[in-house]
């Protein structure tokens, strides 16, 4: 019975069927995987081994208004460490050679401990070529150390321009969290100035490179011979309104001084010169890897990072007298023949001083001599709210919308403001201080430059701006439009006020020291009282008088009277700008004559 069952045909068949069913089941499974679902597995395989690497585009460069290169990209060496290959016993030597703090490399390695050990970590940017050469020579003894060339900002135009250009930095975690998706960790973004405000224009488009990696994320080679790669697209180049030559002179004038200057073309609102002093060295920013440099700037008592041209607000002093005059003339409160008496001051509750005894004086003379008594009496006729309304028409109390990120709107007090501060019985004598630009009224240099431009160009200008347009990567130029400003005041009013400003420099006014035969400058001095030390010196001016091409506001902090310190700087800037303009037009004429000559030569041969 047992022998019948042993190795019976039935049992053989059972085993055969078991073998065949198993083989068919496995075959079916393979068919499902390799034929039916191949695409699914193929995409998984590709995701496994193909990695996309972003390629950073070149950042757009900056030109000045004459297409002179001011900010560009320069290659610099960045030293890297690949943790798997690196030997930490080299730490001390490397830190010494690179002038890094002891423990710096360990810290960086620790910070990156969660990333692939095959991924190189950047240790220092802007490494000196001699160190790179040394690393090349000793690469055998320096495992896991290599370098790459990265682009950094360079400033070849001889212009510092720290508060114009601004700087770029690696994006912070916080910015990444709230920012748009187009930014990634490790990206450099504009942090201040034009770099920040025009970041979208400047940054360009990232390229993509596909590489093959093994299971340890180590690069093996390029995928598909790079045929799927996308080249990065360079950012747009920015054309600034700045005149490099004038800017450079202005920066030199402000060396060892605190203050600011904003000069605009009154017809277009284009900012020709923009200085906030002290400046800081933008070159340093290209190479920082630690916060040390930035901290030293933050802690500097001179506050170099603070943009005085847009952020510092001061009393405008006597530069504000034109506004009171314009309001009075436009409202019809006074005419050119209206006179007020000046006996060295004016009594309103108490005696308000003037800095001289001017007798009976009209509006033109009052501006020329900067007579306080005239304006004390005038503002009483205008009243606070009408004065405030005219101030606001000239752009005070609100931002100029200059294309920089930070700006103060200053303060123009009105009756509501005083009621809030002092109650309904606020002392009317406050008005007298306001009439000479003292007291609560406070303005920024860029606001004051805009106001000067409006006067110079008879009530019409464009909002001040630093960027004229951009050039895309095909070389096509685009202009950026600014807002037109009009104050809606009669031409005659401006003629009167400008005559006063003319006499300040060219008559017997407060700034006759800068009078020049070549260029007719009109201006007004001002002194801003301030609780911290000496007065700030203001000077606003435009030139040439007949056809103003430059209008500016200068402030020099804590030096005293305006005409002594601020006016000469203004003169220098005006002269530099207008002379270089003349030179340029002469050059153009020369070229034209040359062209005519070349054209005429063949005629002569005939």
């Amino acid at each position: 019975m047992i022998n019948e069952r042993f190795a019976s045909l039935q049992r053989k068949t059972i085993l055969s069927v078991a073998i065949l069913i198993s083989a068919i089941a496995l075959g079916a499974r393979l068919f499902q995987m390799q034929i039916l679902n191949q695409d699914l597995y193929e995409s998984k395989s590709v995701n496994n081994s193909i990695k996309q690497i972003d390629q950073n585009p070149l950042r757009g460069v900056f030109y000045d208004r004459n297409h002179k290169l001011l900010v560009n990209n320069v290659p610099a060496y960045t030293l890297r460490i690949t943790p798997t290959e690196y030997d930490t016993s080299l730490n001390h030597m490397l830190e010494t050679v690179l002038k890094l703090k002891t423990g710096f490399i360990n810290d960086i390695l620790f910070q990156n401990r969660n990333y692939s050990k095959y991924q190189p970590i950047k240790i220092k940017r802007g490494v000196d070529f001699s160190i790179i050469a040394w690393i090349e020579e000793n690469s055998q003894n320096l495992p896991g150390i290599d370098y790459i060339i990265e682009m950094h900002r360079g400033y070849p135009g001889g212009v510092n321009g720290s508060h114009i250009f601004g700087y770029t930095r690696e994006i912070t975690k916080r910015q990444l969290e709230k920012g748009s998706e187009s930014y990634k960790a490790g990206d450099f973004i504009g942090y201040s100035g034009i770099e920040k405000n025009y970041d979208m224009q400047l940054r360009g488009q990232k390229g993509k490179k596909f590489i093959l990696v093994d299971s340890k994320q180590k690069e093996i080679g390029s995928y598909n011979d790079g045929s799927d790669d996308q080249l990065p697209v360079k950012g747009n180049d920015i054309i600034l309104t700045i005149d490099a030559k004038t800017q450079k002179i202005a920066e030199e004038e402000f060396k060892n001084k605190r203050g600011a200057v904003v000069a605009v073309d009154p017809k277009t609102g284009e900012i020709l010169t923009f200085v906030s002093s002290p400046q800081y060295d933008l070159d340093q920013f290209s190479y920082i890897t630690s916060r040390d440099f930035l901290d030293s700037l933050y802690n500097d008592p001179e506050k170099p990072l603070f943009n005085r041209a847009t952020m510092s607000i001061q009393s405008p002093g006597s530069t504000y007298k034109m506004l009171v005059a314009i309001a009075g003339l436009d409202l019809g409160v006074i005419t050119t023949s209206t006179t007020f008496n000046c006996n060295g001051g004016y009594t309103f509750g108490r005696f308000f001083k003037c800095h001289g005894v001017h007798g009976r004086i009209n509006v033109v003379e009052a501006i020329e001599k900067s007579c306080n008594s005239f304006f004390y009496q005038l503002i009483l006729k205008i009243g606070l709210d009408r004065w405030a309304e005219y101030s606001k028409r000239f752009g005070f109390n609100s931002k100029t919308n200059i294309d920089l990120d930070e700006e103060s709107s200053g303060l123009i007090p009105d009756s509501k403001y005083y009621e809030k501060v002092y109650g309904s019985n606020w002392p009317r004598s406050i008005l007298l201080s306001l009439s000479i630009g003292q007291g609560e009224v406070s303005v920024s240099p860029v606001q004051l430059a805009q106001y000067t431009a409006l006067i110079a160009n008879n009530g019409k200008t464009y909002s001040p701006h630093l960027v004229r347009g951009y050039v895309d990567n095909t070389g096509k130029e685009f202009d950026l439009k600014s807002k037109q400003l009009t104050v809606g005041i009669d031409q005659k009013v401006f003629d009167i006020v400008k005559k006063g400003m003319y006499l300040v420099v060219n008559g017997s006014g407060t700034a006759t020291s800068i009078r020049s035969d070549d260029i007719v400058i009109a201006g007004k001095t001002g002194t801003a009282q301030n609780p911290h030390g000496k007065d700030h010196a203001w000077f606003v001016a435009f030139a040439p008088f007949d056809n103003p091409q430059i209008a500016l506001a200068v402030i020099v902090e804590n030096v005293g009277f305006g005409s002594t310190y601020a006016a000469p700087i203004a003169k220098k800037i005006i002269e530099t700008y207008l002379n270089s303009k003349v030179e340029k037009s002469l050059d153009q004429q020369k070229t034209i004559t040359q062209l005519e000559n070349t054209v005429s030569e063949p005629q002569r041969e005939n």
Binding site: S16, L30, Q34, I35, Q38, S45, D214
Partner: protein
């Protein structure tokens, strides 16, 4: 008795031919997967040498007098047990299992050798004239012969090889002629044990099935109750064994139940293996051109995961040819088993068949994600000297049985 002197009648080319192709394919896959890997330099050359040694062994075993096998059964079996104890004492641990004995630079796995010893011993016992597999005593003895090496291997622990032994023991008892009910008694605890690994629900469900079948067989109440108790105990015992397993083996079993539970850990190999095979498509990515293989997404691919290389680089064509070759080899061995006039040799060849088949089904099953990753090589294809030499010896035994199949009429 007629003796045929034709070579065809003495030597079965159908046995060696598929094995040569499998070995050749394996060599190509080993070359491809080790070419760029500094850790596996020289593996290709070593495998060639093992292959030559294997061929020599094959022909030596082929030409031995076949009564030698029966005579050597007891010494081989005892030596196997000795070596299995020995390896537990002084063995080297490789990926969580204490399964290697090293002689200088050469290593060898006693469990591989024990396959031959156990097959011979069990076959010898079952082919005794007075063995009655239906008797409770003889069934227990047969199981005991098989279980002893299994228990020692479980202590290493090498789960894959335990599977191989269990399948081999059951198939030999089956081939001997066990009744359906006795088969049920033997198989049901294994069924319950495996089900219990999947959780309490599966454990209870399997017990319900066992109870239902007990009603079908209509045996007396006491006997049925004992079998049920045995099953219940087996389920709990499995749980105990599972806890006793090394963490990496526990993880592998868990990864089988749900590979996605830990895609970067235990399930990683399974997922990467399937990606490799699936992405191969119909024709494959070409020799030395598989991403998964060349970029080393699967660790030590030249051993247990060699089939992925075939699947990725040679595609469906390659994997199916391997399947067909194995199936052909199995059916060929089965034919020899049933044609052998000697009960002992017939049992031995079925034992060899079962060992090859279990390796095949578990290895390919784990690579395509239908079996747990238990670490069994694919015979003749995977890199490894122990496995290849033992496989060639077993194949030599089957060839020997073919040569002498008519002698014991």
């Amino acid at each position: 008795m007629r003796i045929d002197y034709h070579l065809k009648d003495k030597f079965d080319f159908g046995l060696l031919f598929p094995v040569l192709i499998l070995f050749g394919t394996g060599l190509a896959a080993i070359y491809s997967s080790t070419y760029n890997n500094p850790l596996a330099q020289g593996n290709f050359e070593k495998q060639v040498i093992w292959g030559i040694a294997g061929m020599i062994l094959f022909f030596v075993v082929y030409s031995l007098p076949s009564n030698l096998f029966k005579q050597s059964a007891i010494p081989f079996y005892l030596l196997s047990l000795f070596l299995l104890v020995f390896v537990l004492l002084i063995g080297k641990t490789v990926s969580g299992s204490k399964s290697w004995i090293n002689f200088g630079s050469l290593g060898f796995q006693p469990s591989e050798f024990a396959k031959i010893g156990t097959i011979l011993m069990l076959a010898k016992f079952l082919s005794r004239n007075n063995t009655d597999i239906e008797s409770f005593k003889d069934l227990l003895l047969a199981l005991g012969i098989g279980i002893m090496p299994v228990a020692l291997i479980l202590l290493e622990p090498d789960l894959g090889t335990v599977f191989v032994f269990l399948t081999m023991i059951i198939t030999l008892i089956f081939w001997k002629g066990i009744s359906v009910f006795a088969m049920f008694v033997v198989l049901s605890p294994i069924f319950v044990a495996i089900s219990s690994l999947f959780g309490t629900f599966y454990f209870i469900a399997s017990l319900v099935i066992v109870v239902a079948l007990l009603f079908v067989f209509r045996q007396d109440f006491f006997f049925s109750g004992s079998i049920f108790a045995l099953n219940l105990a087996c389920g709990f015992f499995t749980d105990y064994v599972f806890r006793a397993l090394s963490p990496h083996q526990q993880n592998r079993i868990q990864a089988f139940i749900d590979p996605m539970s830990d895609p970067l850990g235990s399930g990683y190999n399974t997922i990467q293996a399937q990606v490799a095979i699936g992405s191969g498509g119909f024709l494959g990515k070409g020799f030395m051109a598989g991403h998964q293989t060349q970029l080393q997404f699967i660790p030590e691919q030249w051993t247990d995961f060699i089939y992925c290389v075939v699947g990725e680089e040679f595609g469906f064509i390659g994997t199916i040819i391997i399947l067909i070759l194995f199936t052909y080899l199995f059916l060929r061995i089965l034919k020899i088993s049933s044609s052998s006039k000697d009960e002992f040799l017939s049992l031995v060849s079925v034992g060899v068949l079962t060992v090859f088949f279990t390796h095949f089904i578990i290895n390919i099953g784990m690579v395509v994600g239908v079996m747990p990753v238990v670490g069994l090589p694919l015979p003749f294809v995977s890199y490894g000297g122990s496995s290849l030499l033992v496989s060639m010896v077993m194949l030599g035994i089957v060839a020997n049985i073919f040569r002498t199949r008519k002698n014991y009429a």
